[in-house]
């Protein structure tokens, strides 16, 4: 795999960042893809994310698995624990009474859904993980960072595009 260089431009104005992203989309630099662009920001900017290629979120799928797995397993465990006392006298009452068992089944439905959501979110967000070497603390304060990975020979062209939209700072790591 060929070596890639990274450059990060910081913007104070979301409109300027949007302008830079639009120009990157249409720049026609050979070998450059929008998949190699990452936005870093202190808040969610859906209007900027829309300018990148579609990045699907699969969390709900795992949530669905959780809400199917939790109650099914829970009900089976509860019912099998109750059924293990099958020889005890129940005085005409059912050995496995489904209506009251629904209460715990419902709670397990929620618990399993929540846990699967959290686990899948951490996996999708790649957390815990290490911050990139170009991480700048100002993106957690008030700046929007556009990080671009590209071939080292294309970096000057990328920097030029990023520089046309009034960044507060451009810094690069060309050694990766």
């Amino acid at each position: 795999m060929s070596k890639q260089a990274v450059t990060l431009a910081l913007y104070a104005d979301p409109d300027e960042a949007a302008g830079a992203l639009k120009e990157l989309r249409n720049c026609g630099v050979p070998g450059f893809k929008m998949d190699d662009v990452i936005i870093k920001s202190p808040i969610d900017h859906p209007e900027l994310s829309e300018l990148l290629n579609h990045r699907p979120v699969y969390i709900q799928l795992f949530t669905l698995l959780g809400v199917l797995f939790g109650p099914t397993t829970g009900l089976v465990l509860i019912a099998s624990a109750q059924a293990s006392f099958i020889y005890q006298s129940r005085g005409g009452r059912p050995i496995v009474p489904f209506p009251p068992d629904m209460v715990l089944t419902y709670e397990l439905f929620i618990l399993s859904g929540v846990l699967m959501t959290v686990i899948s979110t951490f996996i999708a967000m790649k957390l815990p993980g290490n911050r990139s070497p170009l991480y700048n603390a100002s993106v957690s304060e008030d700046k929007i960072g556009i990080l671009v990975k590209a071939k080292p020979e294309n970096i000057p062209q990328i920097d030029e595009i990023l520089g046309r939209h009034n960044p507060t700072e451009i810094k690069g790591d060309h050694t990766r």
């Binding site: 969390i59 509860i78 209460v103 709670e107 929540v114 967000m125 911050r131 957690s140 304060e141 008030d142």
Partner: protein, 485 residues
């Protein structure tokens, strides 16, 4: 052909009126850097009142611990718990704390789902309140057991002889529901805090930096992280809504499945849920005023936000009042003579003072929230919010104690039963425990969500741009005065 954009004077007025700005929840001059600075400052230098509150809470908690040790060494007799008064203040206070815990996460989740932005500066501490009230409530289950080392009997877990607990018992439902709610609320709180923990990490030094670095998990605020985060947060909010409703409904079944009179009204579950929301909202108002002063959050915990919170509390109080009156009416006009006698005893018997105290504090006092002076005077509002919660505590007391005092069998009747100082000490200790944990949390973690307040400011600015009157748009577009093209 020239064309007039809005040349008619009446049309001018209509268009201008359409863009009359709403009262903004935050001031106009809040910058993102300032938000970071203000919230991070709260972690370092609170007002001296913080330490006064913290050490007062520690003293109360220490007294509670002393009472628990005394009860542990001398047996449950010192708590004056005996047949028929087997629950006393422990279970009344347990329900009070569980109820207090409901508003934080439930309201945070509900307001998040309906995109009510005013929740953003106040939801974090509300969720923390939920977590610590649940931890406080859990203490009472163990204290009430007497044999605290056997608390795991209520958890769905087999004992040493592989006998499983009774899955049809509401006590097992309770433990499972509260465990689920605590786990989910804690994860909801933590998940929502990760971007802010990253801000803390970027600005802290020493041991604090190590703590925030560990807890922020390497968050960088990338578009992929935000995209997943938003979906996950909304999904969890959707789970927490029905969960919170189910938990307090289950708490109501602790009563409803028993044989005691007065606990079988059909509206019991929603009555409990609304009671929980009511006391929780009052608690949020109390903490709003305290945190606003102690941590200097005047720029974020503003009067418009407090007004909305008060309106919501009043609405919930009215629904709760309606359900409470429905309970009395159903019992009065029903055919259960014992339940009717129980109701009459509550209102006229040994505990009438508590009953009418509850009516005054929880049903009459909310009307003071309609007075503008009360809403704007924080000292008065603080006192009223505490009175509302006193009313809700009395409500839990008068559900339990009078019912046990005059139940089905006359030979179990007791009169003038009053909890011993050990029980009162434990109740006081629980308030100390909650306050201590909550204040510690606010000193270590950001109690105002920085990134969400930034979102709020961002949206307010966008709204401000859109809400510029048409004549300004026309001016910006290079049109002459009056909109003539």
């Amino acid at each position: 052909m020239s064309h007039s954009v809005h040349s008619h004077p009446q049309l001018d007025v209509q268009i201008e009126r359409k863009f009359v700005p709403k009262a903004k929840d935050l001031g106009p001059d809040v910058s993102w850097a300032q938000i970071n600075k203000d919230v991070l400052r709260s972690l370092e230098k609170p007002r001296p009142a913080f330490w006064i509150i913290f050490f007062s809470a520690l003293a109360l908690f220490s007294f509670g611990v002393y009472c628990e040790v005394y009860q542990y060494q001398n047996g449950m007799g010192v708590a004056d718990l005996n047949n028929p008064q087997v629950w006393g203040l422990y279970i009344a206070t347990f329900i009070f704390w569980i109820g207090m815990g409901h508003s934080g996460t439930l309201l945070s989740a509900l307001l998040h789902i309906i995109h009510a932005d005013w929740r953003k500066p106040i939801y974090r501490y509300s969720e923390a309140m939920t977590t610590f009230t649940l931890l406080t409530a859990a203490l009472f289950v163990m204290v009430h057991l007497g044999r605290v080392w056997q608390f795991y009997y209520v958890v769905a877990y087999p004992n040493e002889r592989w006998v499983w607990p009774n899955f049809t018992s509401p006590l097992v439902w309770d433990a499972t529901a509260i465990g689920t709610y605590l786990t989910s609320s804690l994860l909801f709180l933590y998940m929502g805090m990760i971007p802010d923990l990253a801000i803390c990490r970027d600005n802290a030094r020493g041991a604090r930096r190590a703590l925030y670095k560990f807890l922020s998990l390497g968050w960088q605020g990338t578009d992929r992280q935000w995209g997943n985060f938003k979906v996950a947060y909304m999904t969890m909010a959707c789970f927490l809504m029905p969960l919170a409703v189910s938990v307090h409904s289950i708490v109501s079944t602790d009563f409803a499945v028993s044989q005691n009179p007065g606990w079988h009204v059909t509206s019991f579950p929603p009555y409990f849920v609304l009671g929980a929301l009511y006391s929780g909202c009052s608690g949020i108002i109390t903490l709003f005023i305290v945190l606003r002063y102690v941590f200097r959050f005047e720029a974020y915990m503003t009067q418009p936000i407090l007004n909305k919170l008060i309106k919501m509390t009043f609405a919930i109080a009215m629904v709760w009042t309606y359900l409470d009156l429905i309970e009395y009416a159903t019992t009065w006009y029903g055919s259960d003579e014992v339940a009717k006698a129980d109701l009459v005893y509550r209102a006229t018997g040994d505990y009438a003072l508590q009953f009418w105290g509850m009516i005054f504090c929880a049903m009459v006092m909310p009307f003071t929230l309609l007075i503008r002076y009360v809403r704007h005077n924080y000292t008065v509002l603080l006192i009223i919010s505490l009175i509302l919660n006193l009313g809700m505590w009395l409500e839990r007391f008068q559900i339990i104690t009078p019912t046990f005092a005059k139940s089905h069998y006359p030979w179990t009747w007791t009169s003038h039963w009053w909890p011993s100082w050990v029980q009162w000490g434990m109740v006081a200790g629980s308030f100390g425990w909650f306050t201590m944990l909550f204040m510690l949390y606010c000193k270590i973690f950001p109690s105002v969500s920085m990134y969400e307040v930034k979102e709020m400011v961002h949206e307010q600015n966008l709204e401000g741009k859109l809400a510029q009157p048409v004549s300004e748009h026309a001016h910006e577009a290079g049109l002459p005065e009056g909109g003539q093209a």
